[in-house]
Symmetry: C2
Subunit: 296 residues, 2 copies
């Protein structure tokens, strides 16, 4: 058993999601080097498989401790790191880090519960508070983190405050694989005229479950359209309508995969809103560094 880890000598940061994981070596200077990227998300690690997988990560940069974020801390991951209730500052995440080994910490997720209003995030918290620690997200403002479950977050006094998840990415993927729209949604999505028509519809109308069927009807009746881009625009426009109503006025900081933040930026532009875009991987590394600094 090694002694307490020395985070000042650099560390291994791992963003370990449901379907993928990615690891970087973060030098004392803050410079990050790619170490690993593969499809071994938590759903693919066999029961009892974490001991070997952790050793494999340790071997990528021997002697350095591990900072683990994302679904690795869920009940389907290695060790569960219970949710920190919002409002949650970076210090609260650090205080609630799970330490399943002397050289490893797991970042907890954040929950919000107010009567029947319930929400959870796991993975986005390090990115949002890391971006705030680096001055890229204001102490009071709005963040949108697109993805499988898009998060709309009110940042209040430097803390993650109330937030709301929208199932946009999951629904788009599901509709593309099952049911009557699957044949129409297999193409690539582009921020083209049909995407904008869908987004405008989603921003202005509250009839998503009807408008989705019209994609099928237009196809059957010979009306040409780029169905995949229209459907993406419709779901994202609906998402942005719901999100803006939740976060209120002001610019929106978009954090996430660059192809997704670009589509959301376009929908926000159609809604008359300013936005900034930040790559989610960069934000994760900012969060990992901000947490490691508080451990040194």
């Amino acid at each position: 058993m090694a002694g307490m880890a020395d985070w000042r000598q650099g560390f291994i940061a791992v963003d370990w999601g449901t379907t993928n994981r990615r690891a970087w070596g973060v030098a004392p200077t803050g410079e990050a080097v790619d170490l690993l990227e593969d499809g071994l998300g938590v759903l693919k690690v066999a029961p009892g498989g974490y001991t070997g997988e952790l050793d494999r990560l340790r071997a990528l940069w021997p002697g350095r401790p591990l900072l683990l974020g994302g679904m690795i801390g869920s009940n389907r991951g290695w060790v569960e790191a219970p949710y920190v209730p919002a409002p949650a500052r970076l210090e609260a995440l650090v205080g609630a880090l799970k330490r399943p080994a002397s050289d490893a910490v797991i970042v907890p997720g954040v929950s919000w519960l107010e009567g029947r209003h319930a929400d959870v995030m796991r993975g986005e918290e390090a990115q949002i508070l890391g971006a705030h620690a680096a001055g890229l997200v204001t102490a009071d403002g709005s963040v949108c983190h697109p993805g499988t479950h898009c998060k709309w977050v009110r940042v209040q006094g430097g803390a993650i405050g109330p937030f709301r998840s929208v199932m946009t990415g999951e629904l788009f993927a599901m509709l593309g694989r099952h049911g009557i729209l699957q044949d129409r949604l297999s193409g690539a999505v582009a921020a083209n005229e049909d995407f904008r028509a869908g987004a405008e519809h989603g921003l202005r109308h509250a009839d998503l479950t009807a408008e989705l069927f019209s994609i099928r009807a237009r196809f059957l009746l010979g009306v040409e359209e780029d169905s995949a881009s229209f459907a993406s625009g419709l779901l994202i426009g609906t998402d942005v309508r719901i999100g803006l109503e939740f976060v209120g006025a002001g610019p929106v900081a978009l954090i996430g995969r660059p192809d997704l933040t670009a589509l959301y930026a376009e929908a926000l532009r159609l809604a008359g809103r300013e936005s900034t875009e930040l790559d989610g991987e960069r934000a994760f590394l900012l969060g990992a560094r901000a947490i490691a600094e508080r451990l040194s």
Copy 2:
């Protein structure tokens, strides 16, 4: 080859859907007798398999002609019966019947196209116009036909006018089989307190894709609820909100599976609307008779 069919001697009415089919013998008196019910929907009939299947149906009541409704007339069915554009009266359906054999007719579907507003139905048209022919749906009023793709129809001057489909049934089934909610939606749906809470939410708020995620969050955070009934209520309440905006004021005639029309009647009651319920099978037989009378 037999001569022209004599519909006055009775006929075989077949409601042939995507996943199931059902056949009745309809006597000259109008009395209907069950002949067959099985899972041989059009998706399960092999290419070239219709010749044998039609002979099997003919053998159930030899010498009587066949009236076929539903997806049997789609591009995945036996012979395609092109959509009749709305507004469509019963006479228009009769005039556009497809006659692929001397003893068989296929009822066409109805389409509505106005700019980008596109919609189609296939199977509901015979039920709605049959109910109207029997005096169970007024010449000017609103019909709601719940199902995989719920239809909201403005009946105008005894014709199917503009209509709108909502993907409620398909989405509920998809969410119950795939993705993060599947474990929560496997139970039976009841018109209980949680159903009503979901329906009230769907009627009043336009945030379905966010509220669906909250079902998962409440479960993770230990808030008890009958998730399947809440989700059903949420989707149906959303459907009714969209549908009522489309059809406008007045009572709504519900036609469909009794378990579904009961749930929609409850959501309509919460929306302050009166409704009547009619079993879809009874409506289909009314439509089949009304069409056969015009062939005699």
